[in-house]
């Protein structure tokens, strides 16, 4: 590359570079420093493990995100495959309804979960009429789970449908001709073909669930997921250093998940979202 080309390249990259430095690197660096600015310095990062409330919140968020990701993958893969392989009346409407939640902010999703499973929710009314017991789970981990599932499923369905469309139908026929029963075909042909899509959409689900705030904020009166803990530390406890360390840890976990997924699938993870 000669000097002229090099100069052009620098000019072309400059806008992205400025944006990245101004809105990502500088605040992140500041966050890292703030996190270490307390009286205990860099050791403050250990607090997330040693402070029970922080650690519990971290574990709860991880468990919730992993459960949501796994469940969404199973449910959406089955529905995605079905939708891709069957043509029926109303299919288009059904697909657009299933992908609809992508357009909703987390607050609205939280609100919908309350409408469903809250104190005045539909499930409560029905269960009371049937058994006399009012079932309410909107404000617990179960409520969060339902809400997160709601916005995770469309991400996976769309990716799976795209991957299933590209599958060569002769592969399944070949496996069948060799005597493979249906479960073997799923294991040996379909899942391997969907693997990149599953990893990509799984990573997106996980990352979104780790960082989701709106839904948690609407529902979480007595549950602490990591984004909620950060919010509480920052606004109520004015523990700015603590909020910063938690933010950095949350960011690192999410980034690592996306990075691993990108390497495993070998395809463009971001494009899958």
């Amino acid at each position: 590359m000669d000097r002229h080309e090099y100069r052009n390249l620098v000019i072309l990259v400059l806008p992205t570079g400025i944006f990245c430095v101004a809105f990502f690197l500088l605040p992140m660096a500041r966050l890292v420093l703030i996190g270490a600015s307390g009286e205990r310095g860099i050791a403050a990062y250990l607090d997330i493990v040693t402070t029970p409330r922080h650690f519990e919140s971290l574990i709860a968020t991880l468990v919730l995100s992993i459960t949501v990701t796994a469940t969404a993958l199973v449910v959406a893969t089955i529905s995605g495959l079905f939708l891709e392989r069957n043509r029926f009346k109303g299919r288009g409407v059904l697909i657009s309804m299933l992908t609809f939640p992508l357009a909703f902010p987390g607050v609205v999703i939280g609100f919908m979960v309350i409408m469903l499973a809250g104190r005045q929710g539909l499930i409560g009314i029905v269960s009371k009429a049937l058994t006399g017991d009012k079932i309410v789970f909107a404000y617990s981990m179960a409520g969060l789970f339902v809400g997160y599932m709601y916005f995770s499923i469309p991400r996976v369905i769309l990716t799976i449908m795209a991957a299933a469309e590209k599958m060569n139908p002769a592969l399944e026929e070949a496996a069948r001709s060799l005597g493979a029963p249906q479960w073997r075909i799923i294991l040996d042909v379909i899942l391997p073909a969907l693997k990149p899509g599953l990893i990509a959409s799984g990573a997106i689900c996980f990352a979104t669930s780790m960082g989701a705030f709106g839904t948690a904020f609407t529902l979480a009166t007595n549950i602490d997921v990591l984004p909620m803990t950060i919010y509480t530390e920052f606004t109520l406890n004015a523990n700015i250093a603590g909020a910063a360390t938690l933010s950095i840890v949350l960011g690192l976990i999410t980034w690592a998940a996306l990075y691993i997924a990108r390497n495993l699938s070998g395809s463009n993870v971001a494009a899958a979202g």
């Binding site: 002769a170 070949a174 496996a175 001709s177 060799l178 005597g179 042909v189 693997k195």
Partner: protein
């Protein structure tokens, strides 16, 4: 490898028709008897029903009610493909991309829960037979098209199927490779003695591989016969036009000769006079001097092809006439030439 030798299962299709959703009839009721060990080629243009027929034999499609598929004495009509013990080779190869060459070949054996030492032995035999031993541990995306098709054949044969079904296996390959693999497939089928059904739209493949050819068009069988029958004695217009190159001239029969394009041809057939259609193939003519020629035409173009020269002639009717000669003479456009038609090779169709 004598254990590879199979007596071959006979296949019998009894009034198998296929109507797809939407009412399109892809196949009219078809009766077809295939002897054990025979290679039958289903030949025709796209949409003729050849692939549907193959898929009915495979068990990937069910015939319309009333149709029956027999493998020997077994009625397999209701049996899904995975229970029919067939081997199938696809145009797109359909190799499992997440497995190595070895795993692909072993797949059918593994599914059948064959003991590991037996699988190893069998896969070894297949690798040797298809000359792909050095590819054993390759990934599928590291293979060329020809290598892929060899692996696909090995995988289909490894399970010792009752019948082998091949769906345009060579179409995706380039011309040279296609010819070479055609020879290999032919030798393989002879050696295995397996009943094989081969679908293609390439008449060259059909002629060289088939014990018998089933020529199909628009869901109907046009003719069933040996390659020679089909080529020399086409049943109808479609078969005559589809197989090889053919010339057709209109004429009027008068006693022992036919008047064609202002000339006279010997006419041995004991048919009543009137309008007839004479069909002849490019290679069944000999160039002669203008005086003793049956017919004369003007050269439009000549294509030198090494062993022979192909000439396109006009002035003999509505359509141009194509003839071939092995004479080492150069022809120029506009030149008038005369030729004689071998009377025995003339095809006369009922019009």
């Amino acid at each position: 490898m004598s254990d590879l030798k199979d007596q071959g299962t006979a296949i019998n299709l009894l009034s198998c028709a296929k109507t797809f959703a939407g009412g399109v009839q892809a196949l009219e009721p078809l009766d077809l008897e295939i002897a054990g060990g025979e290679t039958v080629v289903l030949l025709g243009p796209s949409g003729c029903g050849k692939t549907t027929t193959l898929r009915i034999i495979a068990g990937l499609e069910e015939p319309d009610p009333g149709g029956r598929v027999m493998f020997g004495d077994d009625d397999v009509t209701r049996l899904p493909i995975e229970k029919r013990k067939i081997g199938m080779v696809f145009q797109s190869y359909a190799l499992f991309p997440n497995m190595t060459v070895r795993e692909n070949i072993a797949y059918g054996l593994m599914v059948r829960r064959m003991p590991k030492p037996d699988i190893d032995r069998r896969v070894g035999e297949m690798l040797e037979m298809m000359h792909i031993g050095d590819l054993e541990f390759r990934r599928i995306d590291q293979l060329s098209g020809g290598q892929c098709q060899r692996v696909a054949l090995a995988r289909a044969i490894a399970v010792q199927p009752r019948v082998l079904l091949l769906d345009e296996p060579l179409t995706a390959l380039d011309a040279i490779l296609r010819t070479r693999l055609r020879v290999e497939i032919d030798q393989l089928l002879r050696r295995l003695g397996i009943t094989a059904v081969y679908v293609t739209h390439d008449q060259g493949e059909a002629m060289s591989l088939g014990d018998r050819i089933v020529v199909m068009s628009r869901g109907r069988v046009e003719q069933i016969g040996t390659p020679r029958d089909i080529y020399y004695k086409p049943n109808n217009d479609f078969v005559a036009e589809f197989i090889g190159t053919i010339n057709r001239l209109r004429g009027i029969a008068r006693g022992d000769h036919v008047e064609v394009a202002g000339a006279s041809l010997p006419w041995s057939a004991n048919r009543s006079g009137g309008e007839v259609e004479i069909l002849f193939r490019p290679e069944n003519v000999t160039i002669s001097n203008l005086k003793s020629a049956h017919l004369k035409g003007n050269v439009v173009t000549s294509f030198f092809q090494g062993d022979r020269t192909k000439l396109i002639l006009d002035g003999l009717g509505e359509r141009q006439v194509i003839i071939e000669t092995t004479d080492r003479v150069e022809f120029i456009a506009g030149q008038e030439i005369g030729f004689r038609i071998d009377p025995d090779s003339m095809i006369i169709l009922n019009t």
